[in-house]
Subunit: 356 residues, 2 copies
């Protein structure tokens, strides 16, 4: 089935470092808890996982922020832990404590037993949601598909949930690196197949979230995180339906390693707020586009302060192609949605001005 | 009262970039929960705060790790939140949730009401413990005094405890920067007086822990954290009892800003594990000593792996004066104390070898 043509292609053009009329903007977790309409749909769905696995409701929350704000992209509403769930680890959520796994991986035997899930089978609820969102979007803006990085997924799978210390995964990394490499290799294959399935279902750009790469040393980041993102970038379909599919890699806390991330052959880097975007730009040059990088906490301040800080990021990047505005991490649940509206309008206004 | 001369002055010499026979080592949180004897004393004391405020017991836990390990320094057992407690915010601890304040600061009025605590009055339990530890150490190794940085203290004081988002403190920083500057200025004065009192009571080196500086942007780090650490460095007594008192600054997550931290005039920088120590060394040259920087999770691995990783850090630093071995952050409570023994002996062995 052929999909409708894009009416707003700023995001794709910027990710491919082509000129645009203004700076495109989308927001990590734009479909999320800060929106009252999201909270209502979530309540209707039951649990968080029920919401992820119901294609009608997942599509609904994906589209909600687009009805409020002049966003330049939709991002599929889903969870980063769908792959480990499909591998049979038993994902569940405890209110206020985040994700947990019933059967965390603690041994090579646990790891060897894992297979690469067929995205058309146990993950078809995701590809079905992608197709439905594409249909409902009707070409309004592009749809971004995503996955967690192998390293980030493995932290949850080995720890059994969120972690502060990374005791088990790092214990394994230092003491039994070959076991962890085996897990990461399986995950890299699974993420590649999963993102390719999202692309075939209609995702027009994809992003890999390496939320926990920043807890590694330079050497272990390279060996246990970047290496497997590289493998994914090399295995992705970069053309579909006659269109180029840009790939963005984002390592939170990875500002020290931007050059190496850019060398993977990805199209764009996500930046957190611990680096000035002009410095990042001068380090990676025109090899990749940059996505970011306002401190999400700026949205707790008043509208004037928000506008001033948006202008600062846009001015720092300057009049070059290849900037997608975003926060440096997901929007916080306590933010007033009107404040996000101020941000988005300011991006387009200052992005237009700087191109004059 | 004159204090006994130092029998082991490797730490002080290394912090001042003078040659030593081997690499000195101490461990952040070396007096802490991973030691069964600490847990026993803690139980005897009652609460964590009771332990901090009882000079006999605080002295006892300070000395415990020195009885087990060939450490080159003692660090005063205390909490980073003693200053806000002395300011009247009502510090308390909830098991498993960390520190809390009964009266968090949320307005300029709250902030304006704060005074600089006299360290000889409301904080005399700390200086009394310093004097007692010095006496009991009898010159065996030097005693390190410490404080939290103004920014790090302010995060707890404004949030009312630990934070993931830094909603209130960053909201204040972006929207009412002058209120936050007022708080940070008061804290810088308080920390300076507090560390000077520790020096007068017998601390032979001091360290400022900026545990949360890494959550800031480059500009806000400079304005709201580094600026006030600079003020402290400039106000500290750098000579006491005929001895130079070295000052170490440590910003966790601050690897991007090492040059600027070194420019404060401090003697040494603490490093977390997200940077290779040889790269840090080539960036700051011989301006400062470096302290660090093994990933604390290496201690979950087997003894051979621990030794290999210790050797890697020492080899990377090379045969130069100015390295104090440490972890990149505090030792985790779940570590086997024998593993720390392996680490400490390996530091001295490889540190000796590299000087041949």
């Amino acid at each position: 089935m052929s999909q409708p043509a894009l009416k707003n292609n700023r995001l794709i053009r910027a990710l491919l470092r082509q000129p645009t009329d203004t700076t495109p903007v989308w927001i990590m977790r734009q479909a999320g808890r800060y929106l009252p309409e999201y909270r209502a749909t979530r309540k209707q769905a039951g649990s968080f996982l029920d919401l992820c696995k119901n294609k009608e409701l997942a599509c609904e929350v994906t589209l909600q922020p687009l009805r409020r704000f002049d966003l330049d992209a939709a991002i599929l509403f889903s969870d980063i832990l769908t792959i480990p769930d499909a591998m049979g680890l038993g994902l569940y959520f405890v209110e206020g404590e985040g994700p947990k796994f019933e059967r965390p991986l603690r041994s090579l035997a646990d790891i060897s037993a894992l297979g690469v899930p067929d995205p058309c089978a146990s993950l078809s609820y995701v590809t079905d949601a992608v197709s439905l969102v594409r249909q409902r979007l009707d070409g309004q803006v592009p749809l971004i598909g995503f996955s967690g990085s192998p390293w980030t997924l493995s932290t949850y799978m080995v720890e059994g949930g969120s972690s502060k210390e990374y005791r088990y995964i790092k214990g394994m990394m230092y003491e039994s690196p070959s076991a962890l490499h085996r897990l990461l290799d399986t995950l890299a294959k699974a993420v590649t197949a999963y993102l390719n399935a999202q692309i075939e279902a209609g995702a027009q750009a994809v992003m890999v979230f390496d939320t926990w790469g920043g807890v590694l040393t330079p050497q272990t980041y390279r060996d246990f995180s970047l290496n497997y993102m590289q493998q994914i970038v090399s295995g992705l379909k970069r053309e579909h339906d006659g269109q180029t599919i840009p790939v963005t890699l984002f390592t939170k806390g990875g500002a020290q390693w931007l050059e190496e991330i850019a060398d993977t052959g990805c199209d764009a880097l996500g930046l957190d707020w611990t680096i000035n975007i002009n410095e990042a730009h001068s380090r990676v040059g025109n090899k990749v586009a940059l996505q970011g990088n306002l401190d999400p906490c700026v949205l707790y301040a008043d509208p004037d302060t928000i506008r001033k800080n948006v202008q600062d990021v846009i001015t720092r990047f300057g009049n070059h192609p290849g900037h997608v505005f975003n926060l440096g991490h997901g929007i916080h649940p306590g933010v007033d949605p009107d404040h996000l509206g101020v941000l988005i309008d300011a991006v387009h206004e200052f992005g237009f001005d700087i191109r004059k």
